[in-house]
Amino acid sequence: MTWVNVIVQGVLLGGLYALYATGLSLVFGVMRMVNLAHGDLSILAAFICLLVVGVVDVNPLLALVVVVPLVFLVGYLLQRFLLNFTLKGDDMRPLLATFGLSVIIQNGLLQGFSADSRGLDAGRIENASLALGDKVAFGWFPLLILVVSVLVIVLLNAFLTRTQLGRAFRATSDDQGAARLMGIDNKHIYALAMGIALAIVALAGVLMGIRTTFTPGIGPARLVYAFEAVIMGGLGSSWGTLVGGIMLGVAQTVGFQLSPGWGIFVGHLVFVTVLAIRPSGLFAKTVS
């Protein structure tokens, strides 16, 4: 039964990774751009949430109502007035720009908040759990995270397939030149995509801030998990991303169960194995 519990915990952790990965995947899907500051932006969102909670003294889950739109706006402006300019020319430019952004965010946060570990306190829900027998227990909060990530993926899929704006996203992703010919302002679409991606990652950052502690320097590690989930699932497949996230979560918790030092390692090991067997991921949709 211990192992059942391990798998369950892994699946729940995977929900969080999938949420991180969904934002990364959207940005890559629409503008073929890798955002190296993705993890740092999630930490920035967690710190913004900390500030909001400090000022108005509400539950961090309620503070999401402010944090998510705010980070959406940050994403929109960031893409529109900075990152769009890096998309012309070679692929190194957005990488360098977002790498620089990552350094700036980390150091800015260190300056403002010191290197101490912080946490967001959501009250009783954090520890509440549902016991199934002696050895298996669902934490309500991790379960909530998984439900939220499934919901985000469902909504994002519906948005992309059923709305005008979603079609513009897909058209721009397929061929931005032809999309512009159809009256689509690609700069606006890119900025919206970044806004939505960061809104999702803000959600992930805050939920993770409630689940565990965070420091200004932890962003890049989150980025790596998001990457692994996206690549394992296959680029362009949002359900694949969920599966990738869950595989990573399960691999890590199984690793931790084997030995406390092995969790992250086993996660990477599974990732490398998938990459070796199916380089394009398990559910890849995009044609190279």
Partner: protein, 241 residues
């Protein structure tokens, strides 16, 4: 007759190569203008300059009397300029209907409901309605060309720029396409059509221009232009008598 599109003294060079050299042309409302010229003559660049994919070094583009030289591509589309690519560039992951819908909603700013009818009409005019639900990536070349046309039509252009839409098709397919374009023509659409397949052009256009090295060689009655010594020289290299 009123002028709908006018280019004035357009000049463009890529690196050291002058691809458009002081080119001036005007298109009347409802007119179909054909463009011929050898490979590398600057025909596609001319369309790119009109459509906004390339910005000129000098000169102006006037659409319905207004200077659009500095407008972005999507804004030109919304004003009423439609174009097709020489090599079709459909949104491969979407159905033909969705492809066309994008043009109707974003190019024309129509509501979802209104754009359904526009999309159906555009597919019908381009003779592709039977493939409405086929994913664009699996269409044949002729159908991809038709999709290019349908997508452009869905943006309800007043001027249509066609870039070698008949190129690469079989003779029978070319004839089918001629009928489609002739029908558009009779609806009063203003058209600039670049084409190597001369008989297709001659079947449709009112006026023909020949360009080479980015310069206008000759323009006028299609049959006279095609038989002119200038055109003969630039295609065949025959000595002028």
């Amino acid at each position: 007759m009123t002028t709908i599109l006018e280019i004035e003294g357009l000049r463009k060079s890529f690196g050291g190569v002058l691809v458009t050299d002081d080119l001036s042309v005007s298109l009347q409302k409802g007119e179909a203008l054909g463009v011929v010229g050898p490979n590398g003559a600057g025909k596609t660049t001319m369309l790119n300059l009109i459509g906004g994919a390339v910005r000129p070094d000098a000169g102006r583009v006037l659409f319905e009397g207004q200077d659009i030289t500095h407008l972005a591509r999507h804004e030109r589309c919304r004003r009423g300029l439609g174009r097709t690519y020489q090599v079709p560039r459909p949104f491969v992951g979407m159905t033909a209907f969705e492809n066309v819908l994008v043009g109707a909603t974003h190019g024309r700013g129509k509501s979802e409901r209104a754009s359904y009818q526009t999309a159906v009409d555009a597919l019908e005019r381009a003779d592709l309605l039977h493939h409405a639900n086929t994913v664009a990536g699996s269409l044949t070349l002729l159908d991809r060309k038709r999709l290019e046309l349908a997508r452009a039509l869905a943006t309800e252009p007043r001027v249509l720029l066609l870039d070698e839409i008949a190129g690469g098709l079989t003779e029978a397919e070319v004839n089918e396409l001629i009928e489609t374009i002739r029908a558009l023509r009779s609806e009063g659409m203003s058209i600039i059509w670049i084409e190597h397949i001369v008989h297709a052009l001659l079947a449709v256009v009112d006026r023909l221009m020949a360009i080479d090295f980015g310069k206008l060689l000759i323009e006028g009655d299609p049959h006279e232009v095609i038989c002119s010594p200038e055109v003969e020289y630039c295609y065949m290299g025959t000595e002028r008598v």
